[in-house]
C-alpha cells in the first residue's frame, strides 16, 4: 500500500470518527440542557421569545464563530433539549444565514490593493450577504405574521416521519446512547455537571466540525478545483446544484463561497454566474443541522432543521427570478467602495453597525 492510499484511508477514518463525535456532542448538548432544569428552560424561552432578539443572536453568534452549521446545530441541540421552541428557533436560523456571509467579505479584502480586482472580488463577496439580507427582510415579517416556514417545516417532518425516515436513523441512537449513559455516570459526582457537560459538548462540537470540514476538504480538494474549472459555471442549474453538493460534502458554506471570491477578483467568473452557486450553497449548508437533528431523534429538532431548509428554498424561489436586486446592490456597493479608501471605510463602518447596533439594543433595550 503506497503512502497516498494510506493517507486517504486515515482521512476517511478521521471523517467517520469526527462525524460520530459531532453527532455525539450534539446529543450531549441537548442532554446537558435538559439537566439544567425547568427554570433554565423557561429563562431561555423567555430570552428567545422576542423574534428580533433571536434574529440578532443568530447573526452575531454566526459572524463571531464564522459557521452557520455550528449555530444551527447548537439551535437544534437547544430545541432537542427543550430550552428553545420551534417558533423561537426560526429567527435564530434566519440570522445564522446572514452571519455566515461575513467570511466572503473578509476574503475579498485581500484584493484591496488593486482597484478593478477588488471591485469584482468585493461584489462576489457581498452578493451572498445581500441575497440573505433580502431574504430575511422579506421572509422574516411574513413568518412572524403567517408562520408559513414553520408550517412547511412541520409538513416536511410529518412526511419524513410518515415514510419512516426517523426509524431509518434509529441505529444512531444505538451507537450514541451507550456513550451518553457512560458520560452521565462519569459526571454524576462532578459539581455543576450540567455546565461542565455543556462546555465540553460545545468545545467538542467545534473541534469535531472543524476537523471534519478540514479533513473532507483535503480529501476532495482535487475534485473541487476540477468542478470549479469545468462544470460549475456552465449554467445556473449546474452552478446551483454543484454549490449545494459541494457545500453538503464540505459542510460549510463559508468555505465553498469564499473559494470563488479570488476567482471573481481575477475576472475568471462573473457575479451573475456566482449567484446561483451561492444560492445552492445556502441549501447545502442545511445538511449539517439536519444530520445533527436526526442524531437527537427529537422530532421538533428535526422540524427546526427542516425550517432552515424551507427558509432557504423560499429565498431561492423568490430571489432567483428577482436576482437583479441582490446582484445590482452588490455591484453598486462594490463600485462605491472601490472608488476610494474613504468610501471603503464608510461602508465597513455601516456594515459593522448591522451587527453592533442590534447588540446595543439588546443590552440596553
Amino acid at each position: 500500500m503506497n503512502t497516498e492510499t494510506r493517507q486517504k484511508i486515515i482521512k476517511i477514518l478521521t471523517v467517520i470518527v469526527t462525524i460520530y463525535l459531532f453527532l455525539l456532542t450534539i446529543k450531549l448538548l441537548g442532554h446537558s440542557f435538559k439537566l439544567f432544569g425547568k427554570e433554565f428552560a423557561e429563562a431561555m424561552l423567555q430570552t428567545t421569545s422576542n423574534p428580533f432578539t433571536g434574529l440578532i443572536i443568530g447573526i452575531v453568534a454566526t459572524s463571531l464563530i464564522q459557521s452557520s452549521s455550528t449555530t444551527t446545530s447548537i439551535v437544534v441541540g437547544l430545541v432537542a433539549g427543550g430550552v428553545v421552541n420551534l417558533e423561537n428557533a426560526i429567527p435564530i436560523i434566519m440570522g445564522a444565514n446572514i452571519g455566515t456571509t461575513v467570511t466572503n467579505t473578509l476574503v475579498s479584502m485581500g484584493h484591496v490593493g488593486r482597484k478593478a480586482e477588488f471591485k469584482r472580488a468585493f461584489a462576489a463577496g457581498v452578493v451572498h450577504d445581500f441575497f440573505n439580507i433580502c431574504a430575511v427582510i422579506l421572509l422574516f415579517p411574513l413568518e412572524l405574521k403567517f408562520h408559513f416556514i414553520q408550517k412547511v417545516a412541520v409538513f416536511l417532518n410529518d412526511s419524513f416521519e410518515g415514510i419512516g425516515g426517523m426509524k431509518m436513523f434509529n441505529p444512531l441512537k444505538a451507537i450514541l446512547n451507550p456513550v451518553i449513559h457512560l458520560v452521565d455516570s462519569l459526571m454524576i459526582n462532578v459539581p455543576y455537571n450540567e455546565i461542565v457537560l455543556m462546555i465540553i459538548s460545545i468545545i467538542g462540537m467545534f473541534a469535531a466540525l472543524g476537523l471534519l470540514i478540514k479533513t473532507i476538504r483535503s480529501l476532495v480538494v482535487d475534485k473541487i478545483e476540477v468542478i470549479i474549472n469545468k462544470y460549475l459555471f456552465k449554467n445556473d442549474l449546474l452552478g446551483m446544484t454543484w454549490g449545494m453538493g459541494m457545500t453538503f460534502i464540505v459542510q460549510s458554506s463559508s468555505v465553498t463561497t469564499s473559494l470563488i471570491v479570488p476567482l471573481a477578483g481575477a475576472g475568471i467568473v462573473s457575479i451573475r454566474k456566482i449567484f446561483p452557486y451561492t444560492m445552492g450553497a445556502n441549501i447545502g449548508t442545511t445538511g449539517t443541522a439536519l444530520l445533527a437533528a436526526l442524531a437527537t431523534g427529537n422530532p421538533v429538532a428535526v422540524t427546526a432543521s427542516f425550517a432552515h431548509l424551507a427558509f432557504n428554498i423560499f429565498g431561492i424561489l423568490i430571489f432567483y427570478p428577482l436576482k437583479f436586486i441582490p446582484i445590482t446592490m452588490a455591484e453598486k456597493v462594490s463600485t462605491y467602495v472601490s472608488i476610494s479608501k474613504k468610501n471603503l471605510i464608510t461602508f465597513l463602518f455601516l456594515y459593522s453597525m448591522i451587527y453592533f447596533v442590534p447588540i446595543l439594543f439588546i443590552v440596553f433595550g
Binding site: 480538494v221 482535487d222 478545483e225 474549472n229 462544470y231
Partner: protein, 225 residues
Amino acid sequence: MWKEIRNLWTSDNLLNEAWDLTYEAINIDAEMFDDATDALWGDNRKTVQKLIFKKDKLINKYERDIRRKVITHLTVQGNDSLAAGLVLSTVIVDVERIGDYIKNIVDLTEMHPDEIQGKNTKDKLREIEVSIKKMFKKAPECIESGDEDIALDMYSETKEIGRTCDKYIQKLVMKNEEELDTSSVAVMVLYFRYLKRINAHLRNIISSVINPYDRIGFKPKKNKK
C-alpha cells in the same frame, strides 16, 4: 450530469492538467514549425497558412485554459504549488510566442513565393531547422523528467544556434558573399531572425528546468555546470 460525475472521479488535479496542456502546446508548436518550414521550401504552401493560423488559435486557447487552471488550483489548494503555478504561467507565454514567430515564417512564404537562392546559406538554414526540430522533440520530455543535465546540454545547444544565427545575419547584411538579390537577402535575414527568436523562446522554456523562478529565461548560475 452523471457523465460529469464519472469524469470527475477519474480526473487529475488542475495543475497536472495544466502541465499536460503545456506539453501538448509545445507539440503543436513543433507541428506548426514542421509545416511552416516545409511551406517555406516550397511544399503545400496553399494549405499550410490556414492550418497554422488554426493551430495558433488553439495554442492561444491553451494559454488561457492553463492560466485559468493555475489560478483555480492556487485559489482552492493554497500556496503549496505557487512556484509551479508561476513557472507554468511563464512557460506558456514562451510557447505562445513561438507560435507567433512561426506565423511570421508563413508570412514570409506569402511575401516571397519564389525559390530562395544561395546554396550555402540555405544549407545552414536547414541545418538550424533540424536542430530546432530536435529541440522541440526533447523539450517536453526534459521538462517532464526535470533532468537538469539534459536541460543544460540543450541550453548550451540553443546558445550555439543563437550565435550561428547572428553570425549569418551579419554575413548576409555586411558581405553578401553569394551575391544574392535584395529580396532573397531580406527573406533570409528575417528567417534567421525568426529562427533565433524561436530558439530563444525554447531556451527560456528549458531554463525553467535548471533555474529558480526568478531566473527563468536567464543564464544559469555557473555552479550548475
